[in-house]
Subunit: 175 residues, 4 copies
């Protein structure tokens, strides 16, 4: 079971649509997957699931527990203010330690309206994931200009992007 | 007016105590300052102050408006999971764009229980601040082993740390 | 006097041609500049100008001394293997310490054949420059797909890139 | 066969002495290893082994070929100016592409006289290695205050550092 982590709590985000696309790709490759969408986070989780309250919020725990279904993970992160969304890091800050992300094999995808394609989001995330003991795949996929390339049916009008995602998925399965 | 931004919403955090220390330092140097403590964030700000709701939460706006009192800023960030707290980035994600941090002259301080001293937290933050048009002081101060060095009266038992903070404060005032 | 540092020792590099373009831009803005091209480094500088030999190579010193002509600097770096050229860092490693880059106001430009545009090259360089006490302008300019956009007369067939470079140059002059 | 890459061309460097220490550690763990010390680089390699001359310098090629002896690598990098030595990156810039570091499993060690312990050197290197298709172990070991901790017999007077290096070596062998 591969978990696809949608790295923002924005409702109906493009990151979620990329997760849908990736789930289809994994199905084609005969791999099972599930989606963990941060849009489902309880709205007060930054107090009710952190610090003295760590581990006590059932709605947060339900999401966190999805990470335990397998040892492979794909994190799909939009670019907010040049890096990943704060909410994604706050979710990570609420996970049990050690555990949560430890020894997970993790693939990263960054998306942006502009041309950066989440490069800094992914390099910052890599530091955090390595600190937590995750093994990050070297194939970090940038999806720049996503507003142009993602169409209504959640498919990608961009040959190279589709190829890079497929190569990444195959590498994750073989890892 | 210099704003001291406490980069976590943990109540009564060590970062807050460093802010208290720094405020005394600035007073000695005849500079006015105010503290913006993320512990005062509304507990549901990651939904009520972001995306479709950006700009509509009065309690969030009151904190964000503190940034407009001057053009100098000190960000004091603990190290959570090898980087800055997600809540700090989520606060930044809720600020008006452009604006908020644009053209602010910003000094960074990182603190940690371990030996890293928030180095990665500060380098990640630098990328975000530069993206938003802030000018970051080169004097980034690491405060490792803060659990040993910060005492009951919010003073620092560490000569080099005290010296680095003073040199940073002087550089910020001269900038 | 603004120094334009060409961040590779490759002869007749694209980075050099961007330096030529930028020099014309600065002339239009009534600012004097000079070009420091690492193609002029002595070919054995990694031994003859480092460690026990630091400061003893006249050909290296002549280049290093160009940095002392003023307090503003533009570093134009190609992207080699996802970051800046090792030769650029080796040149920095041979500079006198402290000094060389200390208190310089520095603008960064990254160029690449691919889509990254030297983003990681610039973020890595920022860390090094801040360590050395340089003040880095927040306007870091990415020039992706430079093989398409740079034409025979060293001008740029890309409106946004030309605009970003002009805004950066104006910000550097005003800094 | 595990290759221990000494990331500076400084003669008789501390990084080399850490490589000696690590080689003993690997011998204890019944693993074969060899040392690739950049002090053996030809002194003009930044011109004679790069660009038009790539692949034509036999002395450079002899060192580069050592990387082909196995699929596991340890890079030991001192901290120069807040990051890794330029010479290390220039060596990487001269390697055949793709190849050289592709699909290598790589462990990183950073050392410094000061307290940073090569954290930024290692995070910058991680970006470069991932770009080149290496898989970087999450266990990145910082060795701060190395001037105090490394003694005459190339052993380490620091319990935690010894433990972290051993855990890293075991993780590399199991990877």
């Amino acid at each position: 079971m591969i978990t696809l982590l949608v790295g923002t709590n924005r409702p109906s985000s493009r990151a979620r649509r990329i997760a849908n696309y990736y789930q289809n790709l994994l199905t084609e490759l005969n791999a099972e997957s599930q989606i963990l969408d941060l849009a489902e986070l309880p709205d007060n989780f930054t107090t009710s699931a952190l610090y003295a309250n760590a581990g006590t919020n059932p709605a947060f725990n339900r999401l966190a527990d999805l990470l335990n279904a397998g040892n492979k993970l794909v994190i799909i992160t939009p670019e907010y203010n040049g890096s990943f969304p704060g909410v994604l890091k706050a979710f990570i800050d609420g996970l049990p330690y050690p555990g949560g992300l430890r020894e997970k094999k993790t693939a990263l995808i960054g998306l942006s309206n502009g041309g950066q394609g989440g490069m800094l989001a992914m390099t910052h995330l890599t530091d955090i994931l390595m600190y937590l003991g995750s093994i990050v795949l070297p194939q970090r996929v940038r999806l720049p200009f996503i507003g142009q390339d993602l169409n209504q049916e959640d498919s990608l009008n961009h040959d190279l992007s589709r190829q890079l995602l497929r190569e990444q998925a195959e590498a994750l399965l073989a890892f």
